[in-house]
Symmetry: C2
Amino acid sequence: MATIGSHLQGLSLIGGQRGAAGGARFSGVNPANAQTLQPEYFSASAEELEQALQLAADAAAEFAALEPARRSQLLRTIGEMLEAARGDFETLVPLETGLPKARANGELSRTIGQLRLFADWLDQGDWLDPRIDHADSARSPLPKPDLRSMMRGIGPVAVFGASNFPLAFSVAGGDTVSALAAGCPVIVKAHPAHPASSERAGLAIQAALKQCALPPGCFSLLFDAGTALGSALVRDRRIRAVAFTGSRQGGRALMDIAAARPDPIPVFAEMGSINPVFVLSAACSNRGLKIAQSLHASAVQAVGQFCTNPGLLVIPTGSAGDALIAELTRLFVETPAAPMLTASIAARHDQGVDALSAFAGVNVLVRGENTQGQAGASLLTVSAEDFLRQSELQMEVFGPCSLVVRYDDVAVAIAISHALEGQLTATLMADDEDSSDAQSLLEPLTRIAGRVLMNGVPTGVEPIHAMVHAGPWPAASEARSGSVGTAAIERFCRRVCYQDIPDSMLPPMLREANPLNLARLVDGKRVR
Amino acid sequence: MATIGSHLQGLSLIGGQRGAAGGARFSGVNPANAQTLQPEYFSASAEELEQALQLAADAAAEFAALEPARRSQLLRTIGEMLEAARGDFETLVPLETGLPKARANGELSRTIGQLRLFADWLDQGDWLDPRIDHADSARSPLPKPDLRSMMRGIGPVAVFGASNFPLAFSVAGGDTVSALAAGCPVIVKAHPAHPASSERAGLAIQAALKQCALPPGCFSLLFDAGTALGSALVRDRRIRAVAFTGSRQGGRALMDIAAARPDPIPVFAEMGSINPVFVLSAACSNRGLKIAQSLHASAVQAVGQFCTNPGLLVIPTGSAGDALIAELTRLFVETPAAPMLTASIAARHDQGVDALSAFAGVNVLVRGENTQGQAGASLLTVSAEDFLRQSELQMEVFGPCSLVVRYDDVAVAIAISHALEGQLTATLMADDEDSSDAQSLLEPLTRIAGRVLMNGVPTGVEPIHAMVHAGPWPAASEARSGSVGTAAIERFCRRVCYQDIPDSMLPPMLREANPLNLARLVDGKRVR
């Protein structure tokens, strides 16, 4: 057994404290060699869950009412603490996930950049959307009161991180950061596939809260070998919202628990998709081989373990399409097998490829070898007709597997776009000569996807204001924003309104003198 | 039987058409004399539901992609059509609801004002929140793409109107208006307590769509004698969100149906509350009688049939509080019984007063007579101690009934605020000498309520930008905005993102030249 991270203890973080050893044990595993990693991790106890919940509830009011600048300072400090741990993550992430060191480095930089983005956004203040409608005592038949409202955090949030982004969509990822930005204490249920990276990131957040003199109860990190603790977390009345990134099955399970509560709460679940790519005819003829190369690179990057992995390639029939597919086939064949994040993810991938292959009309162009947690790349093909009559072919096979659908007329491509369920992304590969066809596809793709892109690949989700990482069901439980991009904060806010409250008692964001110099909607006009 | 409204036919409106006669029949009833009203109403058939749904689905893409100015024109035209029907509503509303003609007039004006407010807001454009992050081809390690996003309607919305606002929270009320504003076709399930007012308002919307040359499928109005049609509506995959105003039981039933769908959808349910009013000691001493008068007027207005009715009055012990309660008692005793909206609402009110009265420690100060659909005003009282140990005393009794809780120290008032479940409103009655106590209560009240007010009454919900008509569970299913105020639009939108889409193919709101002159977030800065 390899011991990693000497200051890691395998224990939950309960507010500013360590949890105790004693619960059911589990360990990280190096997917490259199936070696069990140290330290061993202990599941949090019911008492520790209760402590974390009560600490979060006790901290909620103070944290929500803080001046946003205090929270932006927290986010920047978390970023600094993560940066200081870069060497640790360079070691831990590859060991636990099989992802290369360069990826660990890049993902850490992305995570830190996201913290800075949200900190800047808190300072900018637009997210508060302060609104003031002045009184009019002369109005008849009744005087008009003074009304002021703004966004405010809803209370403690439970976060379930993803297996495939041990940093950017995990303990200090977009869900945690946007909830903290909104002023909501966070309790993270660690993903068991990368407990050491989780603990290390959790320690950074814990240290940042301490350095910023903020209530330690604003953050807890709970380990569990199974799913019972997470279910209890979502069921607890003190939790006001849930954020999740993972499988449809996992997301739906949490949604069902949340919906069955005496007081239902929202679950913001991002559950992946097949991210269709429509290659239009001129683009296919003009640069089919280049398109094949970029699609292949996107499809097999990180062993295909991206939510935005291009799993469905809609390609014209005819010789140019044939040539594109021949190049794709060559590239998929040449792709070496590589370890997936966990053995069970690799096993599910293998089963998924088998399941897709078994549908009527599906031909296997390349079947990657799947052995001992390693996955090769698979490429399957089916006619548009067979695709359209079997909606099960829209199943996501998480990993390096893409299904090619051939179409002979743009009307068929449009029919495919109409038949698709909700997606995180939809992509058009189009040249100037394709513009009429592209225009016909743009509206139906906008209807099904959170993000529509042209002449790019769907992998690569910029953490920036305009980004949407969500989409209609089943891509997400709620399509309004998603966990990437500054609009993510709004998921954890509600609007509160003050009527005829004396100026001195109002939060500074709503005082007449506008001491924070915010852009506000005053009597229907945006003014600063 | 009285025949009202000669052009009313008792038939559903299916897009631009009339439904057929044939389904189960029901009738409006005049609560003042229990007389059955004409015309008789026919429940929509399953085929008519299917037609309405398919028309809505077919219209959704065009409606969502319209320039917002086309939809603001629609809203203004609906307002004009409603104004033209003012004489009809002056007759219909009092007959069906027992509410006076002046209320019908005032509520119609409010409804028309709300349409204008949303129309102005569409024209102003802030609701789209357009965001542009420009490309940076020189960025390393990877070029940064061009990303642009904005809000867009989510698709057909099912609306269930309230019994107690036959115009402002019904067919052409805040839910319908905000969904149409967002670009979502609407199917309204008419409240059976005011079918004629519903039909008349539906005809106005139908006529406005025709005049504006918009797809008639953007609006349907369905009648049903029971609840099966509404359940089927919420279950249908073409419906993308539900809006509801009514009882907790009704809202929860729709939430459970929506959550159990293969593709769960959001339900925005406003389910009422008891709207606590905290009278602080100096205010009680200085002007207790005036406070009693304003609380009484608010509590019995429209026979207490407001979601924001002050159902819980938290009043100091001692002689000033005694005097306030004596005045309240006098006023409640003198309040004449009046017809409630329906006989079943009156019966539930009567049962509710009985149920509250039966709890340990509850004393009945005034028990209104409840006979034949008429309700008198009831005033009950209980000690803080008994209130705090029986959470069931927080039950809403819809109608003219208030429960007085006595407290002897502000710490007890704060304990009450902490014990309360979510509320639409919470009110402080406070004078200058109370400012420290008021400050202590403001934060806990903000935590439980959508709107906190001082020295006013909670009834009277201004349809204006800063308003919040929602609150934490059980006041609302989702506390983010509510159906009143322009933020209501956001409930029916999702953010869509365009990556590297050529300028000419983008919606005008996102084109580089900003042809609609919107305030946009460009590279993190708000610019026009």
